[in-house]
Structures are given as structure tokens and as C-alpha cells.
Amino acid sequence: MRKSLLIIFHTLFFLGLASVAFAQEVAPEVVGNIALATALGMGIAAIGTGIGQGLGLKGACEGTARNPEAGGKITVTLLIGLAMIESLAIYALVINLILLFANPFI
């Protein structure tokens, strides 16, 4: 118990020292957190977009299989849906790139 408390105390102490040492520039924890946030953000955006596009395509294929004559109308609706879903992923990508390379807060 005492040993682990000592290790925790030392770790916190050195982390504190590191922030003092890097006070003039961006703290490394901040950079690490930003990298983690962008990775998580892009991953979640890609998952959501993938699920959304997959569901849309599934519905469109089922609709065309049931009624092949409606294929043209379904294609237009699918195209609009895909474009709108994909724009969300591109927005997330832009925000992540801003956070990584053009962050206004650091």
C-alpha cells in the first residue's frame, strides 16, 4: 500500500514538474489529449457514417428488389442520402484537421 502510494506520488510530482518545464510551450499532455480526441472523433464519425450508409443502401437494395421499376426514384433518394451522410464525416474530418494542425486555442 505504502509502495503504491509512493509510486503515485512520484508520478504526480514528475508530471507536475513536466508541466512547469514546458510552461512556455504547449504542454505534452495537451498535445496527447488532442491527438486522442481527434482519433476518437474521427473513429466515431466513420463508424456512424458507415452504419448510416450501410442501412441506406440496404433499404434501397430491398426496395429495388421488390419493385425494380422504382429503381430510378430510389437511386435519386439514395444519392441524396449518401451525400448528406458523407458530408457529416467530412465535417468531422475538417474539425479534426483543425484541431490537429490549425488549433486556435494553442
Partner: protein
């Protein structure tokens, strides 16, 4: 003008008239925005808007081309959709990275340029609603 663009798109394999109409409007909106931004806005805004508009238009073009083929695939349509999505996302990310980091593109202009697709879709929806109201 409209016929010329539509013939060009038909030769590229866009057989559905409404898809051609959407794509044509997208090209017009992007070109109009480009001219507007070059004349009236500062350089960083023009670069941002141009990159956003061109990326959006190319993405829309390739989605439109893929959607026409995907809809008639009985099996295995998901793999080409996801593969093309990830390839496009990677290329878009690469271009956006270069534009933001090296070309100094304005981020708000970039977002406005990328939103042209949404404006196009909204115009299409409004036109459809207007048509339905006229018929009723």
C-alpha cells in the same frame, strides 16, 4: 448550356435525368461560388472556398456514379460502397490537410465550400415541393 452539360454527363454514364439535374446544379453552384469568391473575397477565403467546392463536387460526382450501379447489385454491394467511401475520405483528408497546413486556406470558407452539396440538395427538395404544390 444546360443541354451541353447534360450531354457531357450522359456520355459519362449518368443515365437518370434527376441525377444529371442534381449534378448539373452542383457544378453550377460550385462555379458560381468560385467566381464570386475570387472576385469579392480575400485570397485565403477564395482558396478555402475553392478547395471545399471542388472536393464537394468531385465527391458528389463519384457518389452519383456509384449509386447508379449499387442499386442494381443483388449481392456484395456493401463492399464497393465502403471501399469507395474510405478511399474518398482518405483522399479528401489528404487534400484538406494540404489546404489547411500548406496553402493557409480559411477554415470557415472551406466549410462553406463543402456545404454546397447541402445547399444543392435543399434546392432540389424545395423544387420538388414546389412541383407537388403546383400539381395539387
Amino acid at each position: 448550356m444546360n443541354k451541353m452539360v447534360e450531354n457531357f454527363l450522359r456520355n459519362r454514364g449518368f443515365v437518370l435525368p434527376k441525377v444529371r439535374y442534381l449534378l448539373r446544379n452542383q457544378i453550377y453552384l460550385a462555379l458560381f461560388g468560385l467566381v464570386f469568391s475570387i472576385i469579392l473575397l480575400p485570397a485565403s477565403w477564395s482558396i478555402g472556398f475553392a478547395v471545399g467546392a471542388i472536393l464537394g463536387t468531385f465527391n458528389f460526382y463519384f457518389i452519383a456514379k456509384l449509386a447508379q450501379e449499387l442499386i442494381y447489385m443483388q449481392r456484395g454491394a456493401l463492399a464497393p460502397l465502403l471501399f469507395s467511401f474510405y478511399v474518398r475520405l482518405f483522399l479528401t483528408g489528404l487534400v484538406l490537410y494540404v489546404a489547411i497546413v500548406f496553402w493557409g486556406a480559411n477554415v470557415f470558407a472551406l466549410l462553406i465550400g463543402l456545404s454546397i452539396i447541402l445547399v444543392n440538395v435543399l434546392i432540389f427538395g424545395a423544387a420538388l415541393v414546389g412541383q407537388k404544390l403546383k400539381e395539387a
